[in-house]
C-alpha cells in the first residue's frame, strides 16, 4: 500500500508542477461540460415544465375557429370520438385604453364559461379571482400585463369592446398554458405593456360581440390515443356551416410553436458546441500526456524495473488525466449551473410559466462528467498504451533521436532564402504534421466560435433594416374586426393625421404541394405599394402580378415550391374554396410564412368580392393623439400595430440576447484559443528547451531564440485563420438554420469585418499565451539544460 502512496505523491507533485497546463486543459473541458449542462439542462427544464404545465392546466390539443357557431353544437362536439373535454369560447381582438399610454394597446379577450374555470386551457389564478358570471365590468388579466402596468386587484382600465369603451375592473391575474409566449399584432417579441390577454364572462361577451348563445373559438382536449386528424376533421365538419376554419393542432398554436423552436435551438446547441470542446480537450490531453510520458520515460523504466505492474503505471497516468478532468468538470458544472439558472431567469422574462426551475438533476452532471472523462481518456489512450509498451531496458536508455527530413523548401533550393532560425521553425512543424494540423484546427475552432458570436448582430441589423425600413415602412397597421368593403379606405384616409393609407387583406389558407402543407395567411396588397412592400430576391420592391401568388423563400423551401409551379390552396374562411394557384415569384421575407397576392386577385380567390382586412398607415406624428383618440372610438378597428414601438422593443430584446450570447461565445473562444496555444507552446518549449538553450549559448539573443518558437506558433495561427473563417461561416449557417422557423428567419449576413475581428481577437489571445511562454524562454537555465541529456 505504501508503494501506491509513493506513486500518488508523485501524481500530486506532477499536478502541482503542471498546474498551468492542466488548468488550461481543464478550462477547455469545463466549457464542454458547461455547455452540456446549459443546453441539455435548459432543454429539459423547458420541456418538462411545459409538459407538466400542459397536463395540469389541460392545454388544448386542437383549436378550431369559426365565425359564429351556436352553443347548441356542444352536444355534437361532445360526441366526437376521442374528445375528452372542450370549451366553446368567444375570442376577439380588442383595443385597450391604458393610463400613461398615449397609444392604444391591443389585447385578446376570451370568454369564460358560466361555471368559472374552463375545462380546457385552465387558468392558474395568481392573485384575486376570476370574474363572476353576469358581472359586466369584471376582468381577469394575464400576470405579465398586470406587472408591466403595476396593476393591482381592484384597479381598472378601459377597453374598447366592439367600439364601446368599457371600464373594466381587475378581479384577478392569471396564467394560461395557451399563452406561455405571447406577441401582439405587428410585434416580433413579447411586449406585455402593449399586449394583454383578458378573460371575461361568456354571458357578458356574447351580447357585446353579437354572439349571444354563440361562439367563435373551440378548444378541445383529446383522450389518450385519440387520433388528432380525425378529431380535427370531425370538428371541421360540424363548424363548416358556421364559417369554420380548418382546425389545427398544437403544432400551429403560436405559443407552443415558439417553444418548439426554442427547444430545437437548444438541442442544436447541445449537438454542436460541447463536442467541439470535448474534442479539443482530448487533443490537449493527448499532447500533454504524450510529452509527460516522453519526459518520464526513464522513470517509467525504473518503476518497471522495480517490479511495478504495467497496469499500475498506466493507471497512474490515467489518474492524472482523471484529476485534470475532475477540475474541468467541477468548474464546468459550477459555471453551467450558474449560467443555466441565469438562462432560466431569462426564459422567465419571455415565457409565462407558473414556475421554471433550471433542471440540474444529478444524472445530467453524471452524464456530462462521464462524457468528459471518457473523451479525456480517449485522448490519453495513445500515451497510456505507449507506457504499457515501453520495455524497461529500452526505456532507461535515451530515446532514438528525432529524424528530420529535408523540407520542401530545401528541395526547391529555397532554404537559403530564410534564416536558419526560420528553417528550424518550418522543419519542426513538418516534423509533426498531425500535431501541427490539430493545433491549427483547435485555433480555427476558436476563430469559428468568434465568427459565430459576432455575425448575429450584423444579421439582425440586416433583418431589422429589411423588415422595418425596406419592407414594412408604415407607421401603423390597423386591423378591422371583420373584413370591410374597399370603400372603408376613404374613411381611413380621413382619420386625423393620416398621410397615406394602403389596404391589405389577410386570408387564412392551407397551402400545399403534394403531401407537404402549411397553414398560413395569404396577404393581399395593391400591386404597387409604397408603405408595406414586397421585396424581391435582391431586396428591391416588387410589383405584385395580377394573378398567381408570390411566396417567400421559406415557404418555397418548406413546401418544395419553385417559381412557375403551382400549389394547392384551401381558403379557410367564407366558402372554403379549394383551388390551385401559380407561383409567380419567390421573394424575401424574414417574418412568418410570407405569401403575397394582388388584393383584388385574393378577393376573387375567396369568392367573396372585394374586401379589406385592415390598413397600413403613414401618419403625421404631430397629430398622433388625435389619431389614437379616433382609433379608440372606431368600433370597426380591432387592433393596432405600431412599427416604431415594435422595432424598438425588438431591438432592445435582441440586443440584450445578442450581448449575452456574444459574451458567452467570446469567453468560450478565448478559452479554447488560449488553451490550445499555451499548451502547444509549452510543449514545444519543453521538447526544445535544450535546442533553444544551445542557441543562447551560441550567442543568439533571447529575442532571436523566442523567434524560433514564435515563428512556429505564428505559422500555425496563420494557417488556422482561413480554416476558422470557413468553419465559422459553416457554424453561422448552422445557427441561422437552427433559428429558422415558420415564425421567423434570420438572414445569414457575413461581413468581412466579422472575420477580421474574429482573427484579431484570436491573434491577441495567441500573443498573450505566446508572451507567457516567451517569459519562460527568457528564464531558461542554460547551464543546467545543456548539462543534462534529453
Amino acid at each position: 500500500m505504501s508503494a501506491v502512496g509513493a506513486l500518488d505523491r508523485k501524481l500530486l507533485r506532477d499536478l502541482m508542477r503542471l498546474w498551468a497546463q492542466g488548468l488550461a486543459v481543464a478550462l477547455v473541458m469545463a466549457c464542454g461540460v458547461m455547455t452540456i449542462i446549459i443546453a441539455v439542462g435548459a432543454h429539459r427544464s423547458l420541456l418538462l415544465t411545459r409538459e407538466a404545465y400542459y397536463e395540469r392546466y389541460r392545454f388544448a390539443h386542437v383549436v378550431a375557429e369559426a365565425n359564429r357557431a351556436p352553443l347548441s353544437l356542444g352536444k355534437a362536439i361532445s360526441e366526437i370520438p376521442g374528445v375528452a373535454s372542450f370549451e366553446m369560447r368567444i375570442s376577439r381582438r380588442v383595443l385597450l385604453d391604458l393610463p400613461q399610454m398615449r397609444e392604444p394597446a391591443s389585447g385578446q379577450v376570451i370568454s369564460l364559461p358560466a361555471h368559472g374555470d374552463p375545462r380546457v386551457n385552465r387558468l392558474l389564478v395568481r392573485r384575486g379571482r376570476l370574474p363572476e358570471a353576469g358581472r359586466a365590468n369584471e376582468v381577469a388579466v394575464n400576470e405579465d400585463f398586470a406587472k408591466a402596468h403595476a396593476f393591482r386587484i381592484g384597479d381598472s382600465f378601459s377597453a374598447i369592446l366592439n367600439g364601446r369603451k368599457e371600464r373594466l375592473q381587475i378581479t384577478g391575474t392569471v396564467l394560461s398554458p395557451e399563452f406561455i409566449y405571447t406577441i401582439g399584432p405587428g410585434d416580433m417579441v413579447p411586449d406585455p405593456r402593449r399586449y394583454a390577454i383578458l378573460y371575461m364572462p361568456g354571458d357578458v361577451l356574447g351580447p357585446v360581440f353579437d354572439r349571444k348563445e354563440a361562439f367563435n373559438n373551440l378548444v378541445l382536449r383529446l383522450m389518450p390515443g385519440a387520433s388528432e386528424p380525425a378529431v380535427r376533421m370531425a370538428a371541421d365538419r360540424l363548424l363548416k356551416p358556421y364559417g369554420g376554419m380548418a382546425a389545427y393542432g398544437r403544432k400551429h398554436q403560436m405559443s407552443h410553436a415558439f417553444l418548439d423552436a426554442e427547444l430545437d435551438q437548444l438541442a442544436a446547441m447541445a449537438r454542436i458546441i460541447p463536442p467541439i470542446f470535448l474534442l479539443v480537450s482530448a487533443f490537449l490531453i493527448n499532447i500533454v500526456l504524450t510529452r509527460l510520458v516522453a519526459l518520464e520515460r526513464e522513470q517509467i523504466g525504473l518503476l518497471k524495473a522495480l517490479g511495478y505492474y504495467d497496469r499500475t503505471i498506466a493507471w497512474h497516468y490515467a489518474k492524472l488525466v482523471i484529476a485534470i478532468s475532475a477540475v474541468g468538470i467541477a468548474i464546468g458544472a459550477g459555471a453551467g449551473t450558474w449560467l443555466g439558472r441565469g438562462l432560466a431567469r431569462l426564459y422567465g422574462e419571455f415565457f409565462s410559466f407558473p414556475f421554471l426551475v433550471f433542471q440540474s438533476s444529478p444524472d445530467l452532471y453524471a452524464i456530462a462528467a462521464g462524457i468528459s472523462i471518457a473523451g479525456a481518456l480517449a485522448g490519453a489512450m495513445k500515451a497510456i498504451l505507449s507506457v504499457l509498451a515501453l520495455d524497461p531496458a529500452v526505456s532507461m536508455r535515451p530515446p532514438a533521436p528525432a529524424r528530420f527530413g529535408r523540407s520542401l523548401l530545401a528541395r526547391l533550393g529555397l532554404a537559403n532564402l530564410f534564416s536558419k532560425l526560420t528553417v528550424m521553425a518550418f522543419r519542426q512543424l513538418l516534423h509533426q504534421p498531425v500535431r501541427a494540423a490539430l493545433t491549427s484546427l483547435g485555433m480555427a475552432l476558436g476563430v469559428a466560435l468568434l465568427v459565430t458570436a459576432l455575425f448575429a448582430r450584423d444579421s439582425v441589423d440586416f433583418m431589422v433594416e429589411t423588415v422595418f425600413w425596406r419592407a414594412d415602412r408604415q407607421h401603423a397597421s390597423l386591423a378591422f374586426g371583420e373584413p370591410a368593403q374597399p370603400s372603408v379606405m376613404a374613411a381611413v384616409r380621413h382619420l386625423p393625421g393620416v398621410v397615406a393609407a394602403e389596404p391589405y387583406l389577410s386570408v387564412p389558407v392551407i397551402l400545399s404541394n403534394g403531401n407537404r402543407s402549411r397553414r398560413l395567411a395569404i396577404t393581399g396588397k395593391p400591386p404597387a405599394t409604397t408603405l408595406s412592400r414586397v421585396l424581391d430576391a435582391s431586396f428591391d420592391p416588387t410589383v405584385l402580378p395580377s394573378d398567381g401568388v408570390v411566396i417567400s423563400e421559406r415557404v418555397a423551401q418548406v413546401l418544395g415550391l419553385t417559381r412557375g409551379g403551382t400549389a394547392n390552396v384551401e381558403v379557410l374562411t367564407g366558402r372554403r374554396i379549394a383551388t390551385t394557384v401559380r407561383i409567380s415569384a419567390v421573394v424575401q421575407s424574414f417574418l412568418g410564412l410570407g405569401v403575397f397576392m394582388d388584393i383584388d386577385a385574393l378577393s376573387r380567390l375567396t369568392g367573396e368580392g372585394p374586401r379589406v382586412g385592415g390598413a397600413h398607415l403613414a401618419v403625421d406624428t404631430n397629430t398622433l393623439d388625435a389619431l389614437y383618440a379616433a382609433i379608440k372610438s372606431t368600433p370597426a378597428i380591432a387592433s393596432l400595430g405600431l412599427q416604431t414601438l415594435s422595432r424598438d422593443k425588438f431591438r432592445e430584446t435582441i440586443d440584450r440576447n445578442i450581448s449575452i450570447m456574444t459574451t458567452l461565445y467570446l469567453t468560450l473562444a478565448i478559452i479554447i484559443v488560449f488553451g490550445v496555444i499555451y499548451n502547444s507552446a509549452r510543449i514545444q518549449l519543453s521538447e526544445r528547451a535544450r535546442e533553444l538553450a544551445s542557441l543562447r549559448v551560441l550567442g543568439f539573443t533571447r529575442m532571436e531564440v523566442s523567434q524560433v518558437l514564435l515563428t512556429e506558433l505564428l505559422l500555425v495561427v496563420i494557417v488556422a485563420q482561413p480554416l476558422g473563417w470557413a468553419l465559422g461561416a459553416g457554424f453561422a449557417m448552422l445557427v441561422t438554420d437552427g433559428f429558422a422557423s415558420d415564425l421567423f428567419q434570420i438572414p445569414l449576413v457575413l461581413e468581412p469585418a466579422i472575420f477580421a475581428k474574429a482573427s484579431l481577437i484570436v491573434l491577441a489571445a495567441a500573443a498573450g499565451s505566446a508572451l507567457l511562454v516567451r517569459r519562460r524562454v527568457d528564464r531558461l537555465d542554460l547551464i543546467r539544460v545543456l548539462k543534462t541529456r534529453e
Binding site: A400, P401, A402, R403, F404, R406, A415, S419, K420, L421, V423, M424, R427, Q428, H431, R690, E691, S694, L695, R696, V697, L698, G699, F700, T701, R702, L782, I783, L786, K787, T788, R789, E790
Partner: protein
C-alpha cells in the same frame, strides 16, 4: 597581463547560494590563456572546472574577481554584452553534442557563421574536420563523434570544451580531439578542454589541475603528443 593573453583571470570566485548554504565553486582562481593555446583542465567533479569554463564563455558571472577577454572585462558585462561576446568569439563543445536536430550539419555550422565573423564557409570548416561527405546529414543521422566534430567546426576564436569525449569510445574520441587540434592549428583557436581523462592532457600546451575550487597546479608540456598517440 602578458601581451598575447586572450583570457586573464584574477582572483575569480564563484559562490552559489542554494537554500541556506553557500557553495563555493571557485575560491580565487588566477590564470591567463595565450592566443592559440590549448589548455587541458583536470580535476575531480565539483572542483570548479566547469564553473570557470562557463564564466570564461559568458554563460555565468563571477561572484568576485575579474575575467577579461582580449582586454575587455567580462565580469561586469550585461546579459546582452555576454550574448554578443558568445556570438562573436566563443564556441562551446559539450558532452551531449548540442546540435539543432532540425538542421543539417552544414546548416548547424551556418547557424553560427550567419551571425558572426568567420574566416571560412561552413563547407570549408566541415572539410577541416573531415565531414564533407556528411554535410547534408541531420544530427540524428550522424554518430556522436561526427556530431561533436560539427560542433567544433563552428570556428570561433575560443573553443571551450566540457568533456567533449565523455560520451564517446576512444577511437571516436581521438577523431574529435584531432578535429580540435586541426582547428587550433589552422585557425589559431584558443582552446580549453575539461576532461576526466588524464591521458588527454598530453595534447595540451599547458595543464591546469583543479582541486576544491582552486587551480592547484599548472604545468607546461615540454612536448605535445598528437591525439592519435594518446590512449585511454
Amino acid at each position: 597581463m602578458t601581451d598575447n593573453a586572450v583570457f586573464a583571470m584574477q582572483d575569480v570566485t564563484k559562490v552559489y547560494r542554494t537554500g541556506g548554504a553557500d557553495v563555493w565553486a571557485l575560491r580565487g582562481v588566477s590564470a591567463e590563456l595565450a592566443a592559440g593555446e590549448v589548455v587541458v583542465m583536470l580535476g575531480p567533479s565539483g572542483s570548479g572546472k566547469s564553473t570557470l569554463l562557463n564564466i570564461m564563455g559568458g554563460l555565468d558571472r563571477p561572484t568576485d574577481g575579474r575575467v577579461s577577454f582580449q582586454g575587455t572585462d567580462l565580469s561586469g558585462a550585461s546579459d546582452r554584452e555576454l550574448t554578443l561576446y558568445r556570438r562573436n568569439h566563443v564556441g562551446f563543445v559539450f558532452q551531449f553534442y548540442n546540435l539543432v536536430p532540425s538542421l543539417t550539419a552544414r546548416e548547424n555550422v551556418a547557424l553560427v557563421t550567419e551571425i558572426a565573423r568567420n574566416p571560412m564557409t561552413p563547407s570549408q570548416a566541415l572539410e577541416l574536420v573531415g565531414l564533407t561527405e556528411r554535410r547534408d546529414h541531420f544530427p540524428a543521422q550522424l554518430s556522436g563523434g561526427e556530431q561533436q566534430r560539427v560542433a567544433i567546426a563552428k570556428q570561433p576564436e575560443v573553443l571551450l570544451c566540457d568533456e567533449p569525449t565523455g560520451a564517446l569510445d576512444s577511437a571516436t574520441g581521438i577523431m574529435v580531439l584531432e578535429a580540435l587540434t586541426t582547428i587550433n592549428r589552422t585557425l589559431g583557436t584558443t582552446t580549453a578542454i575539461i576532461t576526466h581523462n588524464a591521458g588527454i592532457q598530453a595534447i595540451a600546451h599547458r595543464v591546469f589541475q583543479f582541486v576544491d575550487g582552486r587551480i592547484e597546479s599548472m604545468h607546461r608540456n615540454a612536448t605535445r603528443l598528437a591525439p592519435s598517440q594518446v590512449s585511454w
